[in-house]
Structure formats: C-alpha cells, structure tokens
C-alpha cells in the first residue's frame, strides 16, 4: 500500500474501551512510526493488554479510531482481516497449537490464510526456525519444548505471515529467568531489522537496548511517554515515579 511519508504505521485516536461500566481505556492517543520500537509499561490492570488487543481488533473499542498502515480498523470483517494480516501478535502464554507439530504451527495460517503451498510454507517455516535458533525442534509438539523455545516458535509463527507490525504482550513474563534472554535476543534482532514493534513488558534491558520510546499507562490513560533514558532516568509524574520505584526495587 503506498502511503504519504508522514503517515504513521499505527494511529490511535481518542480510543476508549469499557468492560461493563469499567473504563479500561480512557481517550488514548498514540502514534507509532514505521520501524519504531515502542514499549508500554504500567501497573497491572492499567489497560496495556487492552490497548494492544484493540490494535488487531481482538477487543473492539467503544469510541475513537485506530488506523493501521492506512487501514481503518472497523467492524468490517474484510478490514479486520486485512489488518490482522499485517499485524503479528505474541502472547504471554505462547498459545501455540498443541495438537500440531512446531512446523505445522508455523505453516497452518500460511496455508489457510496466505494460500501458500505446503512446500513454500514449509520452506519459510524452516528459514524462520533457523532464525529463532531451533530448527532441530521442528517435528516436536509444543508440549515437548521449554517455555523459551515455545515462545520463539510463537514468534516464528507470527513472522511467517510477514507482518509489518509485531505486538508483544508480556512475552517473557511466563518464562523461567534463564530462558528470558533467548527470547529477548530474538526480539532484539527483529528490532535491529527495522520491524515496527509494540511491546508490553517490564524488561529494562530490552527497553534500554531496543526501545525508541516508552509509554507509561495507568488507569486506562497514557500518563507520560518519552525516550527510555527520560522515562527511567527522569520521570515527570508522581505515578510514574511510584511505579518505577516498585519495579526497579
């Protein structure tokens, strides 16, 4: 899709989301430029996941507008599918398909959505397994893999759709400490390649090494945002300071 140079990859305008009478997102505005790595931090229940899930329409905003790569996310099924095809998502709990092998996990949507042949999809799957460093696990089932390996397969599965944007919702928080690095390394490599990424995570190492911008959310609102040095080194708002003092010990 050709687009004007000033058009952001993701545009979020005045988005609100309610669960019953509870306001999970409160008039959120956010722009993510192509190639940018954006990190979202904030206390539990502040709406980070909800915001991320609105971007690929897993949650439907009650108000406001979201434009992804020039496509307005609406209830129109075709638009939703068009957006989802451009947006990969990685979940905290991996959500690999347990009844399929690693290779089949990576091939399924390629074949059913992208209509690629078996041969072509497997070729892409092998390349991606090399990239995330676990080609030897291709014929195992997810249950036989460690958490870190599963999450790397999940990333490969998303990348197989050749998305323009990758969303990560706490990709390392279900992992044992010794496995966090192997997943972060894959994410760092992806960032270095210029992938547009929105990452909900409290991994400071990743924030310092890869994030262009950090957004702090609380109670469904964006409280402040800026480069990682600024947010972590010199937070402006009380709530940000309080939150950071808790997670940085």
């Amino acid at each position: 899709m050709s687009q004007p140079a000033n058009q952001p990859m993701i545009l979020i305008e005045n988005v609100s989301k309610y669960f019953g009478s509870f306001r999970a997102l409160d008039r959120v505005n956010l722009r993510v430029e192509a190639g940018e790595v954006l990190m979202i931090i904030g206390p539990s229940g502040s709406g980070k996941s909800t915001l991320l899930r609105c971007i690929n329409h897993l949650e439907v905003p009650d108000a406001g507008r979201i434009v992804v790569d020039g496509i307005t996310v609406s209830n129109n099924e075709a638009h939703i599918n068009a957006v989802r095809a451009e947006v990969g998502m990685v979940f905290q709990r991996f959500e690999l398909f347990p009844h399929l092998t690693v290779l089949e996990n990576i091939c399924l949507a390629q074949q059913k959505v992208r209509r690629r042949s078996r041969q072509e999809s497997e070729q892409i799957a092998w390349q991606l397994l090399e990239k995330v460093g676990i080609p030897e696990q291709a014929h195992k089932h997810p249950g036989q893999l460690s958490g870190g390996q599963q999450q790397r397969v999940a990333i490969a599965r998303s990348l197989a759709m050749q998305p323009k944007i990758m969303l990560f919702d706490e990709p390392t928080s279900a992992l044992d400490p010794e496995m966090i690095k192997e997943v972060l390394d894959v994410m760092l490599a992806l960032a270095a390649e210029g992938m547009t990424m929105v990452v909900v995570s409290h991994e400071m190492g990743f924030a310092r090494n890869a994030a262009n911008r950090v957004v702090f959310m609380d109670q469904g609102r964006i409280i402040e945002q800026g480069p990682p040095e600024a947010i972590f080194g010199d937070p402006q708002h009380e709530r940000t300071k309080l939150f950071l003092s808790r997670i940085l010990h």
């Binding site: 897993l58 947006v87 979940f91 959500e95 690999l96 398909f97 009844h99 399924l108 999940a154 759709m161």
Partner: protein, 266 residues
C-alpha cells in the same frame, strides 16, 4: 516422599502383597466368571442353547441400530454443539431450545412421540402415506434426535474446555472464525471429549433396547417375542442380560485400549 514410601514397602513385603490384592480388578474377574458360567450352560444345556441362538438373531439389528444411530448422532451433535457456542444469537437460541426440549423429556416418551407423532406428521406434510417410513428407520431417527442433543452438550463442553487464547491466536494470524474453529479449536476439543463420546456409545448400545417398544426386532424384542410363546422367563432374560453385559464389557475394553494408544501417541 516417593522414596520414603518405597522404602517402607520394601521393608514390609506383606504390605505390597496386600495392596496388590486390594488393587487387583476383582470386579472384572467376577463378571467374566459369571459370563463364563453362563457360556458353559449355553454350550451344554440345549434349552439355553436354543434361547441363545434365538436372541443371537437380534444381535445384528442391535449393532446396526447402534452404529448407524451413533454415527448420525455425532453429526447432529456436532452441528448442535457448534450452534450452541455460535456468536449468532438466533442460531444459539435455536440450538439451546432444541437441546433443552429433548433433555427435558424421558427417552421412552420421546421414542413414542417421534416415531408415532413427529415422523407421521412430517411424512404427511410431504404427502407420503403414514407407513412410508419403516419402524427401524423411525427407531434410528428417534435415537439420533435424542442422542444428538446429549452429544451436543459434550461437544459444547469440549469446545469450551479450549482456552480463549487459542481462538485469539488463530484469529490474530488472520484466520476466520470458521477456520480457527475447524483447524485449531475443534481438533483439540474432539480429542478431549473422546472418553465422554465412548461412554455415550455404550449408553446408546444399551438404550437401543428401548426401540423394542416399536417392534424393531433387535435383541430385546426378539427375547420378548420368544418369551411370549415359550414362557421361559428366567432363561431368556438371564441370557439377554448376558448379551448386553458382554457387549458393553467388550466395548469399554476396546475404548480403553484405544484411549491408551492415543495417550501414548501424545
């Protein structure tokens, strides 16, 4: 913990021996003994042998009705189960209405109602004579309509046992709801409900005896007809019981083997 336990067991051999006795499936031995004793009588007692061969003539119909009805119930149950979890409120409510309706009426009453009221009514609307549908076919229709509702609830439970995250992961890869259901949720759901479906197959085998009230010549009906002229109640009904017991036992053993194999495969 485990080691401690093992050590105690090793130091007191009597305990292992006694737990062994308690663990042994005595019930299985008792039931197979009963079956064996009955089998011996059938082999050596001509009266028993006669009744046995008579009831044996109904075995084919019993198995036929069970297998055909169960296969079709699986299809109906799957459709109803999918309707039960559909997003569309019309579909969902239609499915729920049907399921609740069936589950609220005794099976025997439903067999009468479906065979002697619903089927003739439908036949008449299509301009067919009342007896256009054979009794065996009516029996199968009744069992399918009844079991479809029960099996629908099994499929629903199976689908709901798969976490929401699986559907979301599939959807976020661009799959439609139907694709996600077909390739991701259902295969896992079906695997989870296989034991429950196995139980329903056994239940169907037993409930197929109910269609004897329609005069379908399955085992129970054959036995009833035979008794009405021979008056050998004891022999006939013991042997009939033996037939069902043997069949359900074989079936549940087969299902267990199947399940163990599937689990070994992972």
């Amino acid at each position: 913990m485990a080691i401690e336990h093992d050590q105690i067991m090793a130091s007191r051999p009597g305990v292992t021996w006694r737990t062994g006795l308690a663990q042994f499936p005595w019930w299985f031995l008792i039931i197979t003994s009963i079956i064996t004793i009955m089998a011996l009588r059938i082999i050596f007692d001509p009266i028993y042998r006669d009744i046995f061969t008579t009831i044996l003539q109904g075995l084919g119909v019993t198995l036929y009705v069970t297998v055909v009805s169960f296969s079709l119930s699986l299809l109906l149950g799957l459709v109803l189960g999918l309707g039960r979890v559909a997003k569309n409120p019309l579909l969902r409510n239609l499915a729920i209405t049907y399921i609740e309706f069936i589950r609220g009426v005794p099976m025997l009453v439903l067999i009468f109602t479906i065979s002697f009221a619903v089927v003739p009514l439908v036949a008449r609307t299509f301009g067919l004579p009342n007896n256009a549908v054979s009794l065996t076919t009516r029996a199968i229709i009744a069992l399918v309509l009844i079991y479809g509702a029960y099996i629908a609830e099994i499929f629903r439970a199976g689908i709901e046992s798969i976490g929401r995250g699986q559907m979301e992961a599939a959807r976020s890869l661009g799959m439609s709801r139907v694709q996600a259901m077909r390739y991701v949720v259902l295969p896992q759901a079906i695997r989870n409900v296989l034991p429950a479906l196995g139980n329903d197959l056994i239940a169907m085998l037993k409930d197929s005896s109910l269609v004897s009230v329609l005069g379908v010549r399955e085992m129970t009906q054959v036995a009833r007809l035979s008794v009405s002229t021979s008056f050998r109640y004891e022999e006939t009904y013991f042997i009939l019981t033996l037939f069902y017991l043997t069949l359900t036992l074989i079936l549940s053993l087969l299902l267990q083997v199947l399940q163990r194999r599937m689990r070994a495969k992972g």
